[in-house]
Amino acid sequence: MQWASWSAFWDMGGYGLYVWGSYGALFFLILAETFFLVRGRKRTLQRIRRMKNWEQQ
């Protein structure tokens, strides 16, 4: 174990802002993209269902 404590881990030798700023952006973007993908799939299904019903009338 190379970290003396959790606070040493978060501090990252004084580079915490830069390291966690990078990893934070990574996780934010992955979560955002996953969210939009799941929502996009639901919306696509709704949209084509609606168009299908409309065409059948």
Binding site: Y18, E33, I48
Partner: protein, 245 residues
């Protein structure tokens, strides 16, 4: 040959295949990310020159690689689509673009956060950084062009043409550190010589690079399924599918 890859050029068959593959790639990406992050933070030692700041490399390099790989794959599908007018090719390049843009943005963002403590600047206009910024603008421009043209076939073709013209930028990014004097360092990892970094750091970076591949494949396949449904909604198989889900 009983098994034919041409079978999967049909959107209907590919829709099913993609659906089966997505969980594997998604779980693979998740597991490899956890493993890679463990190596990055708990196994890789402190760098003797850069201290802990170097740990940005574990995202920066995989993200930069992916932003270029994804562009090359998009250029490949665009060329195939323009040459043979295959429906699925254009859909594939559309499905890849947003993920490529995410990785291009991440490479710039993490580069800035790494540049500030090491170079004293968030940004410099050197060849590597500038060409990487152009790559990000290309992704955004391509997506804007697609959505600006209503006619689907024209939109596909215009996008494919822009992608192919922009492909010249990828070798420029790659070789920029050789061709010009850049503040950005040269390649630490190349196929020609042994890598100039500690092997556990390299392993962590490669694990996260494979995780990024899996992630990109999972997101692109999910997106292409949506595009297939939308474009094939008049067909019988989509109508039947909608009854089931």
């Amino acid at each position: 040959m009983a098994f034919s890859i041409y079978k999967y050029a049909s959107p209907m068959t590919f829709y099913g295949l993609a659906g089966k593959l997505i969980p594997w790639f998604a779980w693979g990406a998740g597991i490899l990310t956890v493993l890679g992050l463990y190596i990055a933070f708990f196994m890789a030692p402190t760098d003797f020159q850069q201290g802990e700041a170097y740990r940005v490399i574990f995202i920066h390099v995989p993200a930069a690689w992916m932003s270029m790989f994804i562009y090359i794959i998009m250029a490949f599908w665009s060329a195939v689509g323009l040459a043979w007018n295959t429906r699925l090719s254009f859909m594939m390049s559309r499905a890849l673009a947003p993920t490529g843009a995410v990785f291009a943005f991440l490479s710039l963002w993490t580069g800035a956060l790494w540049g500030k403590p090491m170079w004293g600047a968030w940004w410099v206009w050197d060849a590597r950084l500038t060409s990487s910024l152009i790559l990000f603008f290309l992704y955004v421009g391509i997506m804007a062009l697609w959505s600006a043209i209503d006619d689907r076939r024209r939109s596909d073709r215009a996008g494919a043409l822009l992608i192919l013209v922009g492909a010249i930028n990828v070798p420029i990014i790659y070789f920029s550190v050789k061709w010009w004097n850049t503040l950005h360092q040269g390649a630490s990892v190349s196929l020609m010589k042994s890598p100039s970094m500690a092997s556990i750091m390299l392993i962590g970076m490669l694990v996260l690079a494979i995780a990024a591949w899996f992630y990109a494949i999972a997101t692109a396949l999910t997106r292409v399924r949506g595009i297939i449904l939308e474009r094939e909604r008049q067909t019988e198989w989509v109508k039947e599918l909608l009854e089931k889900i």
